[in-house]
Symmetry: C2
Subunit: 233 residues, 2 copies
Amino acid sequence: MKSVPHVPICDECIIKGHSIFKDLTTDQLDSVHYGKGSSLYKRGNIVYHEGHRINGFYCVQDGIVKIYKTGIDGKEQIIRFAKPGDIIGFRSVLSKELACTTAKVIEDSVLCFIPSENLFQLVKENPAFSMQLMQLTCRELGEANNFITDIAQKTVRERLAEILLILMDTFGLDSDKVLKISLTREEMANMVGTATESVIRLLSEFKLDGLIDLHGRKISLLDIPGLRKIANM
Amino acid sequence: MKSVPHVPICDECIIKGHSIFKDLTTDQLDSVHYGKGSSLYKRGNIVYHEGHRINGFYCVQDGIVKIYKTGIDGKEQIIRFAKPGDIIGFRSVLSKELACTTAKVIEDSVLCFIPSENLFQLVKENPAFSMQLMQLTCRELGEANNFITDIAQKTVRERLAEILLILMDTFGLDSDKVLKISLTREEMANMVGTATESVIRLLSEFKLDGLIDLHGRKISLLDIPGLRKIANM
DNA sequence: CGCTAATTTGAGTGACTTCAAGCACAGTGG
DNA sequence: CCACTGTGCTTGAAGTCACTCAAATTAGCG
């Protein structure tokens, strides 16, 4: 990572409008802005490491960050992806625990770092901000519970179809119905909780059934209702 | 459920000391106390239903409540158990979503119901309380992430051993090393995310290996290090 | 410098194995 | 007596292993 020539101004940040920061006063937004640092992270950079202490959280200004846990013999379990406007690392800051996940950049990113004290100060003086933060964690918790149920009850095939649809909802499709996020088959396997080979096999099956089309990492979702049916949603 | 003859007084509630309520002023505790209702719930009673709106949350005064989601063809996925001092339903209240889980009493319980407005009021006027609540949800989120990784990567055998240890940590053992919570094999299966038969078979295996002892629903944990080894912890 | 050669990384396949689900049925005990 | 526990047997989904092939990176070198 390296520092960014032009530090993005929170006040002007597109992120402001629809994020947890939307209830901050101009003064509070300024305090975030002046307290923060911004850095450019290249693909592959680690933002923070599982088990390490972090003394602040990050706001994704640009790029995509993969949040994952490392399980048995180093196998990754991807928890979520953070895209512009999302914040990462706040869970560990708030609960005052060590980071329980690793954050790795998968598309060159600009991240703003906001120190813990700043966060705690805002919670103290702005109840609306606290509510936003709480709602965010509660929504994430709800999603985590859904995922637990899926992973425990659905087949790999169902989960893979579901993940494709979730990726579509999160990152969208471009003109040719191609998913706007590029993942390796291994990463997809680490989301679904299966082996890389199984993902490869199932994706070709989906292609054979006319549900999707494959060109390397480009995956086009051709038959969304069909995928939804397989995913049991 | 039926109303309790003697409404437990928050001020005197043992729960107060170690719960999210510990930072409330006497006035605030009073407001919770006078705004709340208490009811006795018998085993099998449903406290709230997945998909329904709930206009408040519950504090478990006594008993055990099972929190679960209903997945494909009605199969339960147990998310957690709530014991005295725990609060349930707050996730949906805070995120202003419909309940994403069902809460069912598995040991006769006394639950205090605290209306949403009351909760929002406290968040507004007591930042320390907000912090407690946030830390609670963040810790739960961390646990959920752990569970996702486990269920995605560990075998049923490993998960079952782990669940036994988690139940020990949560509910403790009595004099004879017997787990202080009584679950059906099906409920254990619904925690682990497996079939009832698999739980039965694995429990007998564990017994054969001298790790546990079985007397109906009474499960004694004989060799905790052994279980920990199997669970990969 | 430019242009192969060498290495790495990811996608894809086939053969084989194994874990665990599902079904059917037999006890059993509150 | 019905819900729960327990057992045997079968089958299938998915994991593992062992490769090939293609593309992308890096290194080597005249």
